[in-house]
Symmetry: C2
Subunit: 152 residues, 2 copies
Amino acid sequence: MHWSDRLYRSLIAVADLVNRLDIDSRLLSAAGVKLDRALFPLLARVAMSPGINVAEMSNLVGRDHSTVSRQVVKLEKLGLIVRTPDPVDSRARRLHLSDQGSAIMAKVKAIRRQWMEGHFQDWSEKDRDDLVDLLQEMIGKDWQTGIPPART
Amino acid sequence: MHWSDRLYRSLIAVADLVNRLDIDSRLLSAAGVKLDRALFPLLARVAMSPGINVAEMSNLVGRDHSTVSRQVVKLEKLGLIVRTPDPVDSRARRLHLSDQGSAIMAKVKAIRRQWMEGHFQDWSEKDRDDLVDLLQEMIGKDWQTGIPPART
DNA sequence: CCATATATATGCATTTTGCATATATCACGC
DNA sequence: GCGTGATATATGCAAAATGCATATATATGG
C-alpha cells in the first residue's frame, strides 16, 4: 500500500477516536461534565486556543459560522466561557474559558493524561517523543495548500 | 508542555483536518462528487473497511446505530454502496462500495495522494515513513482501555 | 426450547445545521 | 474624510441529522 494511503487510514482512525472521545459519556461524566454533544468539542478548542473568535473557530471545525455563533452563546450562558471584546477589532469577540470552564477542562485533562500514559506505557520514550514531534511537524503545515480554490 | 498535551493538540488538529476534508466541497467537486455532508464520511469508511456492518460503523464513528442505519440506506439508494447478506449471520448485512462508489473513491484517492505528496515533498523519506509507522502503531492499540466505566 | 443478546429498521420529538439576511466595523483606495 | 467591498457576528427559518424507544429477526448459550 502507498504510504499516503496508510497515512490517510491512520488520520481517519485518529479523527474517529477524537470524535468519540469528544462525546464520550464515560470520560465526561468522570470529569463531572454534562454537556450537549455538540458543545464539548467547541469547549475543548477554546481551551486549546484561548482568544480564538467565532470565525476562526468555524474555519477550524468546518461548520458554518452561524452554527458556531449559536453554540458559543450556549457555552457562555452555561458559564463555561467568556467573550471579551477584541482590543483591536471591535467587530470580534475573543473567547476564553471561564473559571468554571477551566476547572472542568482541568479535570478532563487529568483524566486524559492518565489514560494516555496507560496507552503508551509500553512504548519507548524515544518512539513516543518522535511521534509527537513528527505529528506536530505535520499539522503545523498549511494543509489547505494544493486544494483547488474557494469553498461553495 | 507535557508530551500528552502536545500529542492531544496534534490529535485534535488531525481530527479537525479530517472533518474538514470529509466535507470539503472543493475536494468533492474536484472528484465530481455531490453528496450530503453526513454521507461522505460513511462512504469513506466503507471504502476503508469493506464488509463493515452498521453496528461496527456506528461504534467506529460514534453515532447511534439508528442514525447510521438510515444514512447507509441513503448511500445504497444513491447507488454508492451495496449491502450483501452476511454469510455467517443472517441478521447482519455487509457493506461494500458499488462500482459507482468505487469510481468516486478512486478519484478522491488520486486527488488526496497528489495533495499529500505536495504536503510532504520537503520531508525526508525516513521522517515520513517513521511518522506513518508510529501512527499506525498508535492507532492499532485499543484506545478504549483505561477509560473509567460508565457511571450514569 | 427458552431467555438473553445482537443486528437492523423505523416512528417521533428534539437538536443541529446551513443559508439568507441584517448590522456593525474594518481596510483601503480616492 | 468618504465611499466600497470585505469581515465578524447574530438571527429567522426550513431542512437535515440525531438519539431514544421500540419492533422484528436472528443468534447464542444454557
